[in-house]
Symmetry: C2
Subunit: 444 residues, 2 copies
Amino acid sequence: MTDTLVRDCHALVPDPSGSLTLARNQDILVRGNRIAEIRPTGRPVEPGVTVLEGHRMLAMPGLINTHAHVPMVLFRGLAEDVPIERWFNEFIWPLESNLTEEDVYWGAQLGLLEMIEGGVTTVADHYFFMDRVAQAVEQAGTRAHLGWAMFASRGYKALADSAAFAEHWKGGAGGRITTCMAPHAPYTCDDGFLRASVGHANRLGLGIHIHAAEEMNQTLASVQKRGLTPIQVLEDTGVLSVPVLIAHACGLMPQDIDVLAKRRAHVGIAHAPKTYLKLAMGIAPIRALRKAGVAVGLATDGAVSNNTLDVFESLRLMALMQKHEALDPEVMPISEALDIATRGSAAALGMGERIGTLAPGYQADLILVDTRGAHWQPPHNLTAGLVYSARASDVHTVMVDGRVLMSERRHLTLDKERILAEVAGTMERMARRVPESRIQRYEP
Amino acid sequence: MTDTLVRDCHALVPDPSGSLTLARNQDILVRGNRIAEIRPTGRPVEPGVTVLEGHRMLAMPGLINTHAHVPMVLFRGLAEDVPIERWFNEFIWPLESNLTEEDVYWGAQLGLLEMIEGGVTTVADHYFFMDRVAQAVEQAGTRAHLGWAMFASRGYKALADSAAFAEHWKGGAGGRITTCMAPHAPYTCDDGFLRASVGHANRLGLGIHIHAAEEMNQTLASVQKRGLTPIQVLEDTGVLSVPVLIAHACGLMPQDIDVLAKRRAHVGIAHAPKTYLKLAMGIAPIRALRKAGVAVGLATDGAVSNNTLDVFESLRLMALMQKHEALDPEVMPISEALDIATRGSAAALGMGERIGTLAPGYQADLILVDTRGAHWQPPHNLTAGLVYSARASDVHTVMVDGRVLMSERRHLTLDKERILAEVAGTMERMARRVPESRIQRYEP
């Protein structure tokens, strides 16, 4: 792998106090798969170093999507304007009974294609046929944190199979793939199943990625049925004793925040505000969580609720909704929003030492955002632009582990034409719904 | 002007019941500046008709931005994370004392450039030096509804000058420009000034574009000071007796909706949700307004609060926020959201008979949205795509009054390079703030 110099970009970096700031006119030297140096531009380029022109580009850590169901792009637009019970029972879970391994493979590629175009370099994916998702990630060149979603109804053998997947692909794709156990949620996995998931996680030295307290009605149903909130169930079953990534936590009780605070060293919350608005789930109390020291990262969730995999949009909605909910426009200032989008998301995945920061020693996962568009002019305030003006289509160049995956919006790893053709070919079959044939039932 | 056939597009049209639906594989025949016919594709093209290829494009009425301060793009990003009082008193009104006529001219061109790129064909603009904005609109080829913003502090002579502007440019640019009186708001214009504005409007056969009840604190201040809500002030001073476009109405009392309902034949509300979230102003009760028969349209507001002029984003935020505020995901279904974005916005400007609908006899203001991007695939549901996946950057072709302004994202009317250079040249001067030198003071 050659070394690369990103020349004369504006770089989003931590200042000496740790706050994110924009260092103007910088060169970023990448050696192998890591950032070696960030310095004012102008020094001569060493021989053998490839130059990426960064003039009027903003360099930032690659975006991290902390919770998705990537292959669900196959169902984009098929479940609109419906409440969450119907969304699951009449749409998603019947539709998912259509899926073959091969569908998941091409769906994953389509989702990765879309995410690369939007500057997403890492995704925490929670789905089925995850060996095929792993193959797609290997091909795409991105980073991914993969867990094979499990319902208790699948049984302990399937759970063991998901653990075998996690063991096999742990550290895969040259270290770009990390894995976890992925029991679906406390309302679809009984305590024994959750404990068994923790057992596998402990045995393999892995964490858990799970849905919990998705919205308040779920929490209230759990309290009514068994006297415990979903977060208390996670605590009781040992889930919070391993590194855990929780989506979506919109239905937290005050005591849940105390529980999560005690486990803050290894708990992360995936925050997917577009899904919450679209399904009217309420907004997770992320300011209280951050105040309690719990890592919060940005997510899209699947494309059937979102309906895209656009983390720039998640960033903007997160910031806007925090101001709105607090009725205070000083809440969630630009610097904090960008902190969540970068270091927060990395920390939520337990990867804060490796990704999410542009600094020497970190993995060379970075994107160049083109600030030349009319909607950025005049460039008084480029960090405001990142939160409030940037579009996924402004992403110009994407690098993961020192390798360029997209340059001037041309894909270098994925075959876009083929992927779009494969997905077009299965579209009709994907849309068929047989309500009696569903993979699971939503009854929180 | 030649006739044009938009060939083989999917067209967003009213079905026989009046609901918006997507008619697939249609040809749209434009004769002169009007839509002549919409018919299934396949008929031979008449000689002399220019063909615009619409395959895999979605044709819809050009977007309408019902409330903006277009030249404020010059200040984009300069007032972030501040409450509304500071936003006005420490940022906007001091910054605006920097403006020259020439700045406004180039700022207007930059904003029109950005809006054309985002599929906006009509804007209701409320600003200063509006003769220069009118010249920019003339050049850009868009449609615009222009009012010269007035504070009582400017005096009656200035108000008369703004009326002279409105009279001069009424029907300008070949009918693409309409005009109005534009007293700023009840809190910056006393009753005498409002009545005088109504007098000019009546004399000239024009309407009024005004800010009112922007947020609840304003309304409460008005009630406390004088026992009337801002809407009641508009009623008392005769403003509601002429065609009136009201931004933003987030601070409505229940009785205000009754007042507006009585005037619904000629009242429109401009809804700019991104500003409301960013400045934590609350969300205007647009469902109640629509239920009362009041027209509601989409807006961006100025780029210092938004921070863009992206009406697709306004559409998405409008729909998401209505679901969120109602805690009901069935609220504001896709068809209703698109109705607001098209016919609602046209009606809010009092132009519902001329624009906002793709049908024979309407002005040929239409856009082609490219649905080939990864974030649209597979295309199960293109109307969902318009609301939840589309980006301004998907706009491929823009036509106003039968004339193509942008084709394959290339501008045919504006000189993008020159505009960006002019704006870059004044950027530093625009950012200077002398707090003592402000054009107005915010004390609602």
